[in-house]
Structure formats: C-alpha cells, structure tokens
C-alpha cells in the first residue's frame, strides 16, 4: 500500500511545482520510463526541449517515474487521486489494460479534435494495429523494436560457420560448430517469451491465443500448447541438453554480457540492443532476421516490443491541443529518423524510413534496417495483427516459470506448457469480468 501513497504524493509535489510556472504557457506532464542518465532518456528530454523552444504556448514537462511498471503504477495511483499526467508511456503488454481502462483519450480522436490531419496509412501497419481500437490508433507508438538475430562475425569465421543461419535447424548447426570451436555457451536469447513464443508464433503464422490473440474479444484463450511452438520448445530443450543453448535469464542483461564476453556468439535480442552492443562488443558483429522453419517460404511480420504514449482523460482542452501538437512534432519524419539513429528503435512512419534510405543510412548500418523489414514483411494475418490479452505481464511470468522448469529438466515440455496455459487462462477469465463491462 505504501507505494500508492508515495505515487500520489509524488504527483502532488510535481503538480505543486508546475503550478508555480508561468501562467501564459500551458504545462503538459509526460510521465516516462527512460532514466535521464541514459541515452534514451537524454534523447527524450532533448525532444521536449526542442519542442518547447519551437513555440511558446505549451511546455512539455518530462518526468521520469522509474521503470515501465513503476511508471504505470504511478499513473494508476495518480488517476485515482485525479492528479494524473496528460501523457504516459506504457509498455506494450499493458495495451489491453489501457484500452479497456476508460481512462484514455484515444489518439486518433485527439488528433482529429485538435485539427491535425494525420495520414495514418503512412505509418508502419503492424506497429499501429497493436495499439488500435475499432476506430484507429488509441495510442501513439513511441519506442518500437523487434527481436533480431545478432551474431559475432569473428566467431563465425573462426568456427567455420558460413552464411547466416536462415532456419532454426541451421541455427542449431551453427551453435554446435561454435561450441566445438570453444565458444562455451553457443546460442542465447534475451526476453525468451517475446523471442520464442511471440515472435516464433508470429513469423510462423501460429496463433498464441484464440480470437486473433485477443484482438477480437475478451473471451480469448491461450492455445500455444497445441501449435508448432511446442515442437520448437522441444528443439530448444534438446539444445540445452546438448550444451549449445544457454539460458541467461528472463530479461536482457545476462545475454548481453555473454555476447560481449564472446561466450555466446549468437544472441537473439531486440533491435534496440544495438546501443549496448555497439558500445561493448570488441569484435565485428552483424545482424539478421530471426530464423524460420525450413518449410516456411512466406515468413510473416514479427511482433513488436517497446512502449507507446497514452493520453489520459480529465484535462483542459488547451492541454490536449498542446499534446496533439507535440505528437505531430514527434511523428515528423526528421524526428523519427533522429530517434531511429540514436536509439536503435524503428521509425514509426514510412516517410522516416524513406528518408533514411535516401540518406544511404542503411548502407553504413545495415542491421538497423532488419527490424523494419522484419516488422513489415507481410500483410498481417489474424495471428499476426497484434496481441491484446489481459494480465499480459503475469501470464508472461507464468510462462517464464514453466520454461525454467523445462530448461532445468524438472518438467516434460508438454506438461509444462499445458500447465502454463491452464494457469494463464484462469487469469484471462478473471480479466474478462472487469474488462467486459
């Protein structure tokens, strides 16, 4: 309970300070999850400064609220106390919660009401659809990434791996050669649920849950214990046993360290891992698409990660006018290209992508293009439009637990995945009762 009080108190303090600012300008609070000590946070703050300097009616006030969960909690607590910000950055898995919260002013409506004519068709489709309601985008995509295959070029040469593995089986062969050549851990992955369940299923056009992964209704049920994903996990379990795949934790840190230290020359990780990799890798590295099954000649679009900007209800019209102006500013091709180059996140509009191509940016940094191509490489199917499932965070942790049971050899693959689905479906039914109203 303590956190609630702190969140509300923090909100009160922030508001008290901002109230003292000049009256002529409208202050607009933006709560976000990027620490100002890091490159991401610094870039974000720079954008607000540039926007504030570009006009005199509005002032965007960025406030770092901690990680994604802390930011969302602060916003929830503040909303209940009616002291919430206008803009809040929410992690992708929170989309179902946000869309059904009744606390959100949909972005398509906001832009229309404020007289900004946005051509949404110039945005990258699968990115937008992940955050869209029936009438259009409910949130503004902000930091968007997708997992790709990072590899150590020096290690590939040393181990005699020629070409980049296209299929999962080829990836296993490469891992085998690398381990034989003395690279102790072979293959690893960050964010295993995102890589092995979400993106494997999207690229293979397999459902994760019914009702188009929850996009079409709250009565969706997880079905991934009955798709090709099961065989994929059996294969990875075999790799773990063989010693050519190493589990380095649920998030990203362990995998990065193993990649930098040249222990794992193959690393399945977000395109946004580029910042860390380019700073720390003392070897030649490159990137390619996540592998596919050998019989998959039409790989589907991959699944995005990252966060979007949500606008909350209950503020003055002037605040919303300023918010819309800021979003239009952020969405401009120049800003998107700047974001892309500085962070490794993908640009959200095709215009920004065209601009990068025209500049010849991808000739110099070819791996920066992989994520965009991967996210947009086919027309999305019912299985690859997006994912909108309640208690997304909890259900991810449940599958993490069961995968750990599998890697440790404590449960057979089928049993563990059945258990995960059963536990997660109970959560979906629980979510349905509040969201359906």
């Amino acid at each position: 309970m303590r956190q609630w009080n702190l969140g509300a108190a923090g909100a009160a303090i922030v508001l008290a300070f901002s109230a003292g600012a000049t009256q002529a300008q409208t202050d607009i609070q933006w709560w976000h999850a990027f620490s100002p000590d890091g490159k991401l946070g610094q870039t974000l703050v720079r954008y607000t400064e540039e926007f504030n300097a570009s006009q005199s009616d509005y002032r965007i006030v960025p406030v770092h609220k901690g990680n994604y969960y802390e930011t969302l909690n602060a916003a929830v607590a503040a909303y209940r106390a009616k002291k919430h910000p206008a803009i809040v950055q929410v992690v992708g898995r929170g989309a179902a919660t946000m869309i059904n919260s009744g606390a959100v002013y949909p972005v398509h409506q906001l832009m229309k009401d404020s007289g900004h004519d946005i051509d949404w068709s110039r945005f990258i489709g699968p990115v937008l659809s992940a955050f869209s309601d029936a009438n259009g985008p409910a949130a503004m995509p902000f930091n968007t990434s997708t997992p790709i295959l990072w590899y150590n070029v020096d290690a590939f040469e040393k181990a005699g791996v020629t070409g980049v593995p296209r299929t999962w089986d080829e990836l296993g062969d490469a891992g085998r050669k690398l381990v034989k050549a003395g690279y102790e851990c072979g293959i690893t992955s960050a964010w295993q649920i995102w890589v092995h369940r979400d993106n494997y299923s999207f690229i293979q056009n397999q459902p994760i849950a019914s009702q188009g992964n929850g996009m079409d209704g709250f009565d969706a049920e997880y079905v991934y214990n009955a798709t090709r994903f099961v065989d994929h996990i059996k294969r990875v379990r075999g790799w773990v046993e063989e010693g050519i795949y190493t589990y380095t934790g649920r998030t990203w840190q362990g995998g990065h360290e193993a990649f930098y230290a040249e222990k794992c020359p193959i690393f399945l990780e977000s395109s946004a891992g580029y910042g860390g990799i380019s700073r720390n890798a003392k070897f030649r590295f490159a990137a390619s698409f996540l592998p596919v099954e050998a019989d998959n000649f039409y790989p589907r679009n991959s699944f995005l990660g990252g966060a979007a900007l949500w606008v909350m209800k209950g503020h003055d019209p002037a605040v919303y006018k300023g918010t819309a102006a800021f979003f239009a500013f952020l969405a401009s091709p120049e800003m998107q290209l700047d974001w892309h180059k500085n962070t490794g996140y993908v640009p959200i509009s095709l215009d920004a992508y065209d601009l990068a191509q025209k500049e010849g940016y991808y000739k110099e940094f070819p791996h920066q293009e992989i994520a965009i191509l991967s996210l947009s490489r086919s027309v999305p199917t019912v299985n690859t439009r997006g994912m909108r499932l309640g208690f997304g965070v909890q259900n991810t942790e449940i599958l993490n637990e069961e995968l750990e049971n599998i890697w440790a050899g404590k449960k057979p693959v089928e049993k563990a995945l059945d258990d995960a689905v059963q536990r997660s479906n109970a959560n979906l039914r629980r979510f349905e009762r509040t969201a359906g109203n």
Binding site: R2, V76, S101, A261, Q394, A408, T434, A435
Partner: protein, 294 residues
Amino acid sequence: MIKRVTFASKSLPYLLLGPQLLILAVFFFWPAGKAIYESFFLSDPFGATQIFVGLENFQMLLVSPEYYDSILVTLVFSGLTTLAALLSGFVMAVFADRAIRGVLVFKSALIWPYAVAPAVAGALWIFLFHPTFGSVAGLLIALGVDWDPLLNGAHAMTLVVVAAAWKQISYNFVFFLAGLQAIPKSLIEAAAIDGAGPGKRLWYVVIPLLSPTTFFLIVINIVYAFFDTFGIIHAVTGGGPAGATNTLVFKVYTDGFENQDLGASSAQSVILMFIVIALTVLQFRYIERRVSYA
C-alpha cells in the same frame, strides 16, 4: 508492589500519545483497512469497474498450488535468513567483544552493510554471482561447481538467503555487542574461578543473560525476513527460477504492482498480516517465557 504514576489531567496522556496514534492511523490502520476492503473486490487498475466478489480472492489463493509453494518458500527463506543472520552476528559480536586493538575499526566496518539500500545490495550480489558475468560465480565454475542460480532453485535460495542475512548481520552485531558488554564481568570471572572454560562460560552464563536481546532480535529478524527482503529478491532472482524464491511479500508486489491485480494482491496482504500477527503472538507466548529480564 507496582508503583502507579497517574496524570493529573485526563487529556494530557491522550495529547502525548496523539502524534504517535496519528502516525499509526495514517500509515498503518488506513492502508491495512483499505487492503482488507480491496480484498473483497475484483477491480480494474484504474478503478472504473469494481465487482464485489466476497471471499473469491481468498478462495482462489487457497486452491492454487503456487500459493502453497510460496508459503513454503517464505518459511524456508525466513528461517534460514534469521538463523544465518543471528548466528553470524552473535559470533562476530563475541569476537569483537574480546578484541583489544582496533575495536572501533572492526565495529565500524561491521556496521556498513546495514547502511546499504536493499536494491543496491541485491545488485551487488548479482554482480558477484550471476552465472554469466559474476566474478565469484566465474571462480566457482572454474572450481568445478555447477553454479547456476538462474535454473537451480537451491542455488537461487542460497544466494538470496546469504544476501539477505549479510544485510542484517550488522544490526544483530550491534545489539549482541551491547548485550555482551552489559553482562557484568564479575559473573564471568566468578564462573572462570569455579573452573568453567570459555565454552561453558558462553553456554551457561553469557547466553542465558543475553536472552532478552536474542528474543528481541528473533522477532525483528523474522519481520525483516518476511517484509524487508523484497528489494533483495527483486534485484537478485526476481522470484525465480520457477518460483523457487517467490516469497509471499514478493508475490504481493508482483501481483499488485506488476500485474495490477489489486484484489488478489490485497487478499494476500491480509493473509500475510494474519500470519505475522500469529507468529508474533506465538513468539511472545512461548519463547518469551524462557527469557529472563533479570
């Protein structure tokens, strides 16, 4: 005869107690009351929908095997942490009590870990013991230990127990040292003259006389292990692998603040509250009887 001191005015005692009661009301009774209230509801995070569900949140927990696992994990974790922190603190206090030179240096050095924030302590331990980049982990693996707290539950448990105990040792050390120094030297000398060696003196004289301190520390350490170790678990294992270090408090946090399931989280808080009340009552009824406040 117990001496009775009474206040002349009736309102003065209330006035004096007022600030403390106010703090208790605001920081304990209000949130605790709110937790009990929320535990009967199923609500969406933003409070738009709130459905009264009676005891369903509790029922859901009591049929979940993971919840029983979490209770077991908490008992093992708290037991081991309390034991390790008390024993180490005691041993260090006994040695510091005997040290002649550099006492001040030892004392100050031993108090440091207590000043480290739990999250920082956790980050420190993971940097030492993470199987892919931990420096100590590297040594262990080089020595042939199959060290992997990411997949081996026993390793993960060992790691969080050691990290949690490490942070609490200083506190225990300070209290034990003060307790030891309060024992009259004459008693120990008398025992020595009667022919008791250092071991016997410790067992028959020092430990019984320390019992009020020990009892106080047991209560404090159990409460610490139950509640204040959240930051360490969060930073070191995140409750994993497969729930092996998912203590009740950590589960309250993840369900409430990561999953935004207020009802389930509140129900767990209420159960936790009763567990701690029961534990404290037990301690006072059964352990305190053996304490002499001579």
